[in-house]
Amino acid sequence: MKKEGEVMIDHRASPGLTADEAVKFGYHPDQVKEGALFEAATMTCAHCNTIVIRNPMRVRERATCLQCNQYICDLCDGARRHPDYVHRPWKAIADLVQSGKFTMAGTSVNPVLIPRKGD
């Protein structure tokens, strides 16, 4: 497992979120209620670079890319099952853009690499 990031949401000196608001924003109400301090690990998808806050109550398995052996998010897990999928982690996209030969368009999950003029 790669090292995890961390998130801290401190409502110890705040009224926090109501139960309805917490659910709307994807939290458990107890995590962000008045007086609560929420700390959790985060993981970064190797393919689209999105940050995922780990839900300790999740029972579904999390995806691992068998080609780069790293964690990938649910959206990228779906994308990699498409027949025309090309495996290209975010790090590889960054390297290609940094090379000066490509620009990136599309979206994080479905990136499109466009050759720059002159290459």
Binding site: V7, H11, Y27, I51
Partner: protein
């Protein structure tokens, strides 16, 4: 490379709709790559609420689906500078800004990365740290990978509120 800090002070993060250009200047923080080949790692985000009444803000870090036009040079009380005082000047420094001719459009595309930073700005504090190799990365300076926006999403139910925030980043 050196790490930098982009800090906003007393910014009212006015809630704005996803997928449309943000309506007003000084209601968001945006960071764009300094060149078409630059890579910028975002290492930490922090939001400290300063509202004087309960205000739940749907803060997000999002990719920009449409870039701004003509970013305004950052001015006090906001700042962006290297964490180490001996940092050499960059040939193409990343572009931090809170205002522009036309403000950036935060992506509302399902398949674009976003980071949820929702909190109550009445005393709430949010901080996210990346571990090494797990950064949020900005690539180049074209949409959507080349610019990221810290903003308040009305489409997610956010209400406008006052806050201080910083983004720690490292350009390559």
């Amino acid at each position: 490379m050196a790490k930098w800090s982009f800090k906003s002070a007393a910014l009212t993060f006015t809630a704005a709709a996803a997928g449309s250009a943000i309506g007003s200047a000084s209601t968001y923080m945006a960071l764009k790559g300094g060149s078409g080949t630059q890579v910028v790692d975002v290492l930490e985000l922090s939001v400290s609420g300063k509202a004087t009444a309960s205000t739940v803000a749907a803060m997000e870090l999002s990719r920009a689906s449409t870039l701004e036009t003509t970013p305004t040079t950052l001015a006090a009380p906001h700042s962006a500078g290297p964490l180490h005082p001996a940092t050499a000047a960059l040939a193409a420094p990343p572009v931090p800004f809170v205002a522009a001719g036309t403000q950036p459009t935060p992506s509302n595309t399902v398949t674009d990365a976003k980071l949820n930073l929702a909190l109550n700005l009445f005393g709430g504090i949010y901080r996210w740290n990346a571990s090494p190799t797990q950064q949020w990365t900005i690539v180049g300076n074209t949409a959507p990978g080349g610019e990221s926006v810290l903003w308040n999403n009305s489409s997610a139910g956010g209400s406008s509120g006052l806050a201080d925030a910083h983004i720690l980043y490292e350009p390559y």
